[in-house]
Symmetry: C2
């Protein structure tokens, strides 16, 4: 499958590498063509890996992963171009973290809105599914690193897109437990998990954890 991964940071590289290893054609998009990090990634990732601008990548992909950090997500998607997102499933992984006031970060959108909703409003033709934003990127692509099955979530207005994403999460990354929280407004819920996630990181001394919902 042809997959766009927007963003050259740790999340983007981890997702893109995993997808290449599964035999997909993955184009990593960045603000400018020839981004050093993206080129270094593609050289190492091998066959199937390519790079380009956000627009190049989005045009190439049948499906698009947004792995740009929260503060640059809307600008990156504008650069990708609405026409290249229309009708496509957009997996939205970013969190609205604001590190400008120091640690711990605050959320620049929260409570009555979410980044997931902002993205869906800005790109009404995209089939936005908020997912995987609740845990460390190494676990995103390898949940089996943890000793018990844990949970991830999908939020979005398009039920078919969410079901497809849940199937991909299982097939590509091994997620057995994917909870459909509801429409895109439920992204407020998973983005609000970040303030607790960050404090747990401090308390546990590792980012290598996730939550498992236990139901009676």
């Amino acid at each position: 499958m042809r997959i766009a991964v927007l963003g050259t940071g740790m999340v983007g590289r981890t997702i893109a590498s995993k997808l290449v290893s599964l035999g997909h054609e993955v184009r990593m998009g960045s603000r400018t063509a020839g981004n050093a990090g993206a080129v270094a990634w593609a050289d190492k990732a091998g066959a199937g890996a390519s790079t380009g601008t956000f627009a190049d990548a989005a045009a190439f992909g049948e499906v698009v992963f947004n792995c740009v950090n929260g503060q640059h997500t809307l600008a990156a998607l504008q650069a990708a171009g609405a026409a290249h997102l229309d009708g496509k499933i957009l997996l939205e992984l970013a969190n609205p973290l604001d590190f400008s006031k120091g640690m711990p970060p605050t959320l620049f959108v929260s409570n009555t809105d979410s980044l997931g909703e902002q993205v869906q409003r800005a790109f009404p033709g995209a089939r936005v599914v908020k997912t995987l934003n609740t845990l460390n990127c190494e676990l995103m692509v390898d949940p089996g690193k943890l000793p018990e099955p844990t949970d991830v979530f999908v939020s979005g207005n398009d039920a078919e897109a969410k079901a497809q994403v849940a199937a991909w999460l299982q097939d590509w990354f091994g997620w057995q437990r994917v909870i459909d929280l509801g429409d895109i407004t439920t992204a407020r819920g998973t983005e609000s998990w970040l303030p607790l996630w960050i404090r747990l990181w401090g308390a546990l001394g590792t980012a290598n954890y996730n939550l498992r919902i236990v139901k009676g």
Copy 2:
């Protein structure tokens, strides 16, 4: 032990009944003496149960549970009186939920502050420990209702108070897994869990669940 439970709602009644059943002397506090709900609770709960104003209860208790809803928490504690809270451990269970704009509720304080912090600032002599605000009240007092051990949290500035609360949570309610998140600012984390908790309630169709942190 003499314990004050402020609040006559479901959380207060559940906590107070459990404590009475363990043989403690429990005084339930409310805005006015003779609150019908409190009196009905005390009649049913039996020996060890009594009622009074917020101030009566706080004066009586060696330890104080705040089970008043978030919007009335600060007023209730003002009515209880700083002098009756000074030096005592105050278990702060409320969440800053605002239902005035309909469902789902929003948070009236979040992100850069928390209700737990507001309480500690307003009552600097109280040893505030934010805890148990992350789950349904039936599970607060009986975590064994779930098929696997799950987690609760403590946040506060007083390490000794947090250790004491963790011991009580284990002895009184059966909590084996209590995570110390850090100082009272970490209450932002557990209060931020509510927007996800509420969406999970909708998705799972039950409030009978909790999170279990799985670490690699």
